[in-house]
Each structure stands twice: as structure tokens, then as C-alpha cells.
């Protein structure tokens, strides 16, 4: 808006400049005419030129009062009138007068609007007709100038008209150039503004998308937390209640095994199955209770190899899985709660073995056998701050979409699991000042890495 208003203003100034130049040129011309008429003592010429220069005051005043178009119109009318009069009375300069009309028309076209331009063309045509036919039909009688139209006189007139015409053309080209520049600047500005708007739009869209995602995330988080809060309340009660019957089943089984030491193999097999399932059930309850309330651990300096070995005692690797241990020597002790980290490492071992459950055992000699590697070293990057323990399997791997939700509570891909194992593992690891990471290549296997702190942390 501002720029458009400015350009209007610019146009007005331009027009004002043109008009005032023309008025001053006309006055100069009048002055020349007065001197000429005095020199030749031509009263008619003197009177007309004097009247003309006095009339020029009207457009001058109008211009000062900013009535630009009216002022321009007056100027044109005065010029047409004067030209016609001079051509009428001055024999031999009629062809010069025709040039005068053309210049007036060009100025009108340049400076004024199209209706004024048409008016100027019409008046000029009438004037030309008057000049061409007037003498033939005897409407007026021309008298030659007193001094006569000499070649010098004619040349001077031509030069003046040519100069005025040059001025007009110059004004015209300036006008065109300026308006082109303005237009180009305007286009550039618009493009810039459009580009800005596009960018803002894109930014806005992105921001809206982000917000929406955040909101969705927050909502999901809320739902999850609510779910977990309910789960936590339930876990306390249900877990406690289930452990009593489990304890009875367990004791009863123990009793039966004691009193039937020589039971048939089939029955002993079932005894073992019942005991195993009691342990599985207890594991689920432990996960639930642990998740509902991660206990503050009792951290101590603990050797890494002892942690790995005691974990493998508590969570033995099933037959058919080839286990490789690669524990670096001279590792510093880690500052952890051994029981909690045993549980975490055990979870990883159990998960790894389950991921390889369908694989051919190494005993069959097949190349693609189930392999579990536990690697422990100190990361060169983080130097002496951390010890890492990696549990690497050759199992089914984890798909990228599952990868993102891996540590989410209640997320599970197992047919028999409540999806708390890794969630608890992460909680426990973080409670011990460590962290847990997972990477996987679907079809080739997964690696879970525990980072355990060496120091006790700031004391």
C-alpha cells in the first residue's frame, strides 16, 4: 500500500517537473517573441505574445496549487492557440506551426490522461484545417512578417522546435524507463514478499505439525501413564495375592518330589514342568512389582566378570545356544546394585535366547546356528567413565518400527509376555546410573548394550 502511494506521488512530481519546465520554456519563447516584435515594431505580435505570456500565469498558479491536470490542459490550450495565431498571421512559417502541434500532442500524451490527449489532437486537427483551408477560402489574410521569413529565421525556429521535441522525447524515455524500473522493483518486491509468505506458511505448517505431534505424543504419554498407574496399583495387590498360591504349589511340588524319589520318568518330567512354570509365573510377578516400584538399589563396587558369571548361573543359557564370552581383562569395577543389574543382564540373555528359539542348534552342525556373545570392554570414546557389556544374538532381529517402542512398558512381541522386561531393565539400569541401548538388523540378530558407571558419581 505504502509503495503504491509513493509511486503515485512520484508520478505527480514528475508531471509537475515537466509542466513547470514547459511553462518556463514558453516564457522564454515569449520573451524572445517580445524582443522580436519590438525589434520589428510589430504591434500584433507584441500584443499576442504579451497576452500569451500573461495567460501562462494561469497554469503556473494552478501548478503551484497542485491542480496538475488542469494546469497541463491550460498550457496545452495556450500553446495551440499561440501556435495557430502565429501561423495565421505569419506567412511562410505554417509548416513550423504543424511541428508545434505535434509537440503539443506528444506532451499531452506524456503528461496528461487520454481524454485530454484526445482533446489536444482534436483541437490541433481543427487548427491545421483552419490553416490549410482558411487562406484558400478567404477566411483570413496572411501578411508576411515585417522582417520577412529569412532562412536564418526559419533555421532558428526549426532549432527551437527540434530542441523542444528532443526534450519531449527525453521526458518520454525517462518516463518509460522510470515506470519500467518501478514495475521491476515492484515485481521483485512482490516476489520477495510471496517467497516470505511461502516460507512463513511452510514454517507455520511445520510448527502446526510439530505441535500436533507433540500433542499426540503427550496424549499417548498420558494414556500410557494412566494405564501404568492402574497397572501399578493392580500389580501390588495381584502380585502379592498370586505369590501365596504359587508358594503353595511350589512347596507342594517339593513335597511330592521328596516323597516320590523313584517316581516314573514321566511324572518327574511333569514335576519339573510345574516347577518351571511356577518360576515363569513368579518372573512375571517380579517384573510387575519391580515396574510398579523400582526399589532404590544398594550400589557397590562390583567386578564385571563376576556380574556376568553370576547372571549366567541365575539365567542359564539353554542347550543348543553357543555361548561366547569375551570379557576384557583388567576392567575396573562398576558401581552398581549387583542383584538389580543381574536381573537386567539376565533379561537380556533370556530375550536373546528366546529370539533364537526357532534357530537350529549348533549341535546339528548347521552353519547358521544360534550364537550368543557377551562382550565386555571399556569404550575408547568415553574412556574410563564406563564399562559396556554387550549381549549379541543371531536371532530374528527387531523391525525398525518395533525398535522405537522397544523400551515402552506393555509393548511386547512375545506370545507369552506382558511387555515389562525391557521397560524394567531400562528403569533399573537408569536407577543405577547407567544406560541401555539396542541395535538390530532384522533377520541377522540384535545387540543390546549396557553402559555401567565406573565411578560412584559426585560425592
Amino acid at each position: 500500500m505504502n509503495i503504491i502511494a509513493n509511486s503515485d506521488h512520484e508520478d505527480d512530481r514528475q508531471l509537475k517537473r515537466i509542466l513547470s519546465t514547459l511553462i518556463w520554456i514558453s516564457w522564454c519563447g515569449s520573451f524572445f517573441g517580445i524582443i522580436l516584435s519590438l525589434y520589428y515594431r510589430d504591434v500584433r505580435l507584441f500584443a499576442v505574445v504579451l497576452a500569451g505570456s500573461a495567460l501562462l500565469g494561469v497554469p503556473f498558479v494552478l501548478l503551484k496549487r497542485r491542480h496538475l491536470h488542469t494546469s497541463g490542459m491550460f498550457l496545452m490550450l495556450i500553446m495551440i492557440g499561440m501556435t495557430t495565431f502565429i501561423a495565421t498571421v505569419g506567412q511562410g512559417i505554417r509548416d513550423l506551426a504543424v511541428f508545434g502541434y505535434i509537440i503539443v500532442i506528444i506532451f499531452a500524451g506524456l503528461a496528461l490522461n487520454s481524454s485530454y490527449f484526445k482533446l489536444c489532437v482534436g483541437l490541433s486537427l481543427v487548427a491545421v484545417c483552419w490553416l490549410v483551408f482558411g487562406e484558400s477560402f478567404g477566411w483570413f489574410v496572411t501578411t508576411p512578417f515585417i522582417g520577412g521569413v529569412t532562412n536564418w529565421f526559419y533555421l532558428a525556429g526549426m532549432t527551437i522546435i527540434f530542441l523542444i521535441a528532443a526534450l519531449a522525447v527525453n521526458l518520454l524515455s525517462m518516463n518509460i524507463r522510470k515506470s519500467l524500473e518501478r514495475e521491476r522493483a515492484e515485481v521483485t518486491r512482490r516476489e520477495k514478499v510471496e517467497e516470505e509468505i511461502r516460507q512463513l506458511n511452510a514454517e507455520l505448517e511445520q510448527r502446526v505439525e510439530e505441535r500436533t505431534r507433540e500433542l499426540q505424543g503427550a496424549q499417548e504419554q498420558l494414556v500410557r501413564q494412566e494405564k501404568l498407574a492402574v497397572l501399578g496399583q493392580l500389580a501390588g495387590g495381584v502380585g502379592h495375592e498370586l505369590r501365596n498360591p504359587l508358594s503353595v504349589i511350589n512347596s507342594a511340588m517339593y513335597y511330592l518330589k521328596m516323597v516320590q524319589p523313584d517316581a516314573p520318568a514321566k511324572i518327574q518330567d511333569y514335576h519339573a514342568k510345574i516347577e518351571q512354570e511356577v518360576r515363569n509365573a513368579d518372573k512375571i510377578i517380579t517384573d510387575l512389582l519391580d515396574f510398579a516400584r523400582v526399589k532404590g538399589g544398594q550400589q557397590e563396587q562390583f567386578p564385571v566378570d563376576k556380574l556376568v558369571h553370576s547372571t549366567l548361573v541365575r539365567f542359564p543359557v539353554p542347550v543348543g545356544v553357543e555361548l561366547t564370552l569375551d570379557l576384557a581383562e583388567h576392567l575396573p569395577m562398576v558401581f552398581i546394585d549387583p542383584r538389580q543389574m543381574e536381573q537386567v543382564l539376565g533379561n537380556l540373555v533370556v530375550n536373546a535366547c528366546q529370539a533364537m528359539a526357532t534357530q537350529k542348534s549348533s549341535a546339528t552342525g548347521v552353519k547358521n546356528c544360534a550364537q550368543l556373545a557377551i562382550i565386555s570392554d571399556q569404550s575408547p570414546v568415553t574412556s574410563d567413565q564406563w564399562v559396556r557389556i554387550s549381549v549379541k544374538d543371531t536371532g530374528t532381529g527387531i523391525s525398525p518400527e518395533n525398535m522405537q517402542r522397544l523400551f515402552e512398558p506393555l509393548f511386547t512381541t512375545k506370545a507369552r509376555g506382558i511387555g515389562l522386561g525391557l521397560a524394567v531393565s531400562r528403569k533399573l539400569t537408569e536407577a543405577n546410573g547407567g544406560r541401555i541401548e539396542a541395535e538390530s538388523e532384522p533377520g541377522k540378530g540384535s545387540t543390546f548394550t549396557l553402559w555401567l558407571p565406573v565411578n560412584e558419581g559426585p560425592l
Binding site: H240, R243, N244, S247, I249, Y254, R293
Partner: protein, 127 residues
């Protein structure tokens, strides 16, 4: 070792108390099972025990309260707690009172038996 040590098992779940008692009897201990703190105190008046194996949470009194009352009658009584939830706050209270161990349910019977046999050797010497 001439005389087997006596164990009193207290749990509001009758099945837990009786199965454990059966196992311990089978292993040669004198074991009794009762289902509340009140019953346990009554039993201790007539038949003193060496080891008190009690649940922590019971309707009439908790394990710590039972142990405090029982210790007035039998100062040398050894107490073992059973709990379904190892983070129970009462455990800390029991530890402060001097209980010897906390066993989580489902009870690891081999662990329980090894504890009992350990006390079997310690207790007569303490006499």
C-alpha cells in the same frame, strides 16, 4: 543334634503353613503350622519353638508384633520372615528388631532348609 530343633510356621494361608510344615517334618524337624499371630502365641506357651518362620502381613498382627510378643516368652527365639513383596516397609522394622532373614515367596525351599540346618548346629551351642 540328639534332639531335633522345633520350628513354628505362621501364615494366614493355611496351605502355605501346612505344606512347609510337612516338608520340614519330612526332613526330620519338629514343625507346627498355625494361621494367625494369636494362635502362634498360644502354641508357644505350651510348645516352645527354636525358630519362628512367620508371614509379615497377617490380619490380627504383623510379623514384627508377633516376634516382639514371642521374644518375651522365648528370648532366644530365632525369627525368619516370609514375604510376597521384598520391598515391604515392615522388613526394615523387622531388621531393626533383630530378625535373622527374609525369604521371598514363593519360598525357595532349598534355601529355607539350608538355613534351618545351619541354625540346628548353632542353636545347641548357644544354649
Amino acid at each position: 543334634m540328639s534332639e531335633s530343633i522345633s520350628i513354628l510356621i505362621v501364615d494366614d494361608s493355611q496351605s502355605i503353613a501346612s505344606t512347609l510344615a510337612d516338608i520340614l517334618e519330612l526332613k526330620g524337624y519338629t514343625a507346627h503350622a498355625v494361621n494367625s499371630g494369636t494362635e502362634a502365641l498360644q502354641m508357644l506357651r505350651t510348645q516352645p519353638a527354636d525358630i519362628l518362620l512367620t508371614d509379615i502381613r497377617m490380619p490380627d498382627m504383623n510379623g514384627v508384633e508377633l516376634y516382639r510378643a514371642a521374644r518375651k516368652m522365648l528370648p532366644k527365639l530365632v525369627a525368619l520372615f516370609m514375604t510376597a513383596y521384598s520391598a515391604d516397609d515392615i522388613i526394615q522394622e523387622g531388621m531393626a528388631e533383630g530378625i535373622k532373614a527374609v525369604i521371598t515367596k514363593p519360598v525357595d525351599i532349598d534355601l529355607l532348609l539350608s538355613m534351618c540346618s545351619a541354625y540346628q548346629y548353632i542353636l545347641p551351642q548357644a544354649d
